[in-house]
Subunit: 222 residues, 2 copies
């Protein structure tokens, strides 16, 4: 139940910090030995493998068979594609999230097996443009993404045993939860009315604090 | 009322695409002539200046005195700092948004004059980690950030002439607007109750479609 971070540059190290913050285990993989050694100096218990994440032997040495996920986050889209492909071949159940440098490569990365593809330079460019054109919005989104204590965007799946009910009957405001919408079979119902019917398998997209999320999850799983 | 994009690498070009999409004018500035020439081939009406954005003469050639904003988005934090400083010296009213490579440099960039500092590699790392650990949430945030038509996070300032009213009296649901909170003097009131008092100077943080935003803005400025 550990993670493999393939590519331990700036993006990979920021991922590692988030995994540390949420107490997950991981192995750093990079062909650049220097960057691994430097990282180990700052963090003596860092586990790393010196090699190419698209190489079967390296992923096997990282115990891919028991891994929960693989981050394919080098700065080379072709290599990230190879990593995604190799990881899924060795363990079809592993979740793969890939970085892409050029947005146009995103469909190819998905085809190679990446479950999600993210382009920091693309979304970063959008965020920077937003900060210029729509001041104010961004700092709130940043807070949301960053802080463990602040309100954040959360997914709350309605469990199989959930007894059908309307949005109004859930008293979301009482939990200090703001409902943005309901996702269902890839469709998103924005701002559903109070008589919208909730059913197992749907996902509530909400904004709330972590404790509010826990309280709501307890309530809907009863 | 144009923008100067200092640093026309991958991030700078993504900013340019967003400015094109929202019909803003800009000048691309980079010391790398090749990247400018290549960009001009794809976009024959591209305005560019071949030089260093931290150089007074280059910013003056870009008519900084009449610019609305400067993007300091090279891949070098020190240079971005120089650009921010120079831009504010030449035009104290210009808005400066800076990219930072290492999060630890963010306070220095602010000190140099950047109004907002954003680190694509940092927020990108967070997003990638989120996509692994909290599947589902991210695609919604990406949709939000990307699409012009979809629902997005918006700031709606209450204008000076706004007659004080409660949250409940605004009938936000009727506008198909979801209220996340109210910002006031840097504080954020999450999920305010229906009897929360709204006053000029506060900012509503909402999620809604662009048309809903326009309708609400018309209503509150009457
Ligand atoms: Ca690397
Ligand atoms: Ca550049």
């Amino acid at each position: 139940n550990h993670y493999l971070i393939c590519g331990f540059g700036r993006v990979g190290r920021n991922i590692a910090e988030e995994l540390d913050a949420t107490r997950r285990h991981y192995v750093a993989i990079d062909i650049d030995t220097d960057c691994l050694v430097t990282a180990r100096e700052r963090q003596p218990d860092l586990l790393y493998l010196d090699g190419d994440g698209s190489d079967d032997d390296i992923l096997l040495a990282g115990d891919i068979g028991n891994a929960a996920g693989v981050f394919a986050v080098t700065d080379d889209d072709g290599r990230n594609m190879m990593i995604a492909l190799t990881a899924k071949q060795l363990n079809p159940n592993v979740r793969v999230v890939a970085r892409c440098m050029e947005v146009r490569n995103s469909p190819k990365l998905r085809k190679a097996g990446a479950d999600v593809v993210i382009s920091p330079d693309f979304t970063g460019g959008l965020r920077i443009a937003s900060a210029m054109l729509r001041p104010g919005v961004l700092s709130f989104m940043d807070d949301m993404a960053r802080s463990e204590t602040a309100h954040r965007l959360e997914d709350i799946p309605l469990p199989a045993g959930f007894a059908s009910a309307t949005v109004g009957s859930l008293d979301l405001a009482g939990f200090d939860v703001v409902l943005l919408g309901v996702r269902e079979h890839g469709r998103f119902h924005f701002n559903p009315s109070l008589d919208f019917a909730l059913e197992p398998g749907q996902v509530l997209v909400v904004m709330c604090a972590p404790e509010a999320r826990k309280a709501l999850e307890r309530a809907i799983s009863r």
